[in-house]
Symmetry: C2
């Protein structure tokens, strides 16, 4: 079992903004490896979080294209392809459709943006806008989990690179 | 087209406790008949209400077996079979499982209780408790609509009985 630096609730909150999720992951740690952590995270997210925890996590994401409030470095990097491929007019359209989506469903449009261009994201947003609420809740929960898995992987990398080296005899 | 007394937002709030639902029904009224009203209500509820509106409506129901806060006459009548068939111990068990359900999912256990006995309701609650959150949100939304339809029917009856008679020449 690889040595892991100790975990904090803030580590897990940086992966998924539900405090119930973070507490449950703390209680479940340490993990034998990343796959073990992801397996536990999926079970907690889909089976142990109440509806308020889901909404708390969704609310923790900046809308794609948001410029008005501070955005975490991870969100910035996840959205870097979108930002690089956007023009002023597509970005403006994305901001408008985001607002329309939030007005209809009551939470921010969630998509695992890593590697996706702005036109791709905009097209997905327009398609998903016509869905029923229950369908969007399901998709948003799935996308949240994809984002959480990517962030857990980064967390493991950063823990590994700062962990003390093992002494072998 | 049958004459209908004018509608108020409170009429619709007494059928479904989401203020967005009540406003949308007001905007859609008057209705050609009950079936027309139900058709509009279903579309509004499933396609036009955001997640906060769903939770607002769910929160408007007393937990089955609740005795601590005032319960509307309609809720009382809808739960009358359950109350008549309950014993102290089944009612106690129902109250405990309701609390457990709310702790897991973040909203009250919703079931269209009309004509259902306490053992039936308790058995449904235990079965549904093991569901995933997204499944329970879908079932709760369906049950909410069943309750709303029954209440719309009662509202139409009460409007009809107080409407001025039509003068025929």
């Amino acid at each position: 079992m690889a040595e892991q630096r100790s975990w904090t609730e803030n580590d897990f909150l940086s992966c998924c903004g539900s405090s119930r999720f973070a507490r449950a992951m703390m209680a479940a740690s340490p993990f034998s490896d990343l796959q073990h952590a992801i397996q536990l995270a999926r079970n907690i997210w889909f089976n142990e979080i109440d509806v308020n925890g889901w909404l708390e996590a969704f609310a923790d994401h900046p809308p794609i294209g948001a410029t008005s409030k501070p955005i975490s470095q991870w969100s910035k990097e996840e959205q870097s392809t979108a930002v690089a491929t956007s023009t002023d007019s597509t970005m403006q359209e994305l901001i408008e459709w985001n607002a329309r989506y939030k007005e209809k469903f009551g939470f921010v449009f969630l998509i695992c943006a890593s590697g996706r261009s702005t036109p791709e994201i905009l097209s997905e947003l327009k398609k998903r806008y016509s869905n029923r609420l229950i369908i969007e809740l399901e998709i948003a929960a799935q996308e949240e989990m994809k984002i959480t898995e990517l962030r857990l992987a980064r967390l493991f990398e950063s823990k590994a690179s700062t962990a003390p080296s093992l002494t072998t005899l």
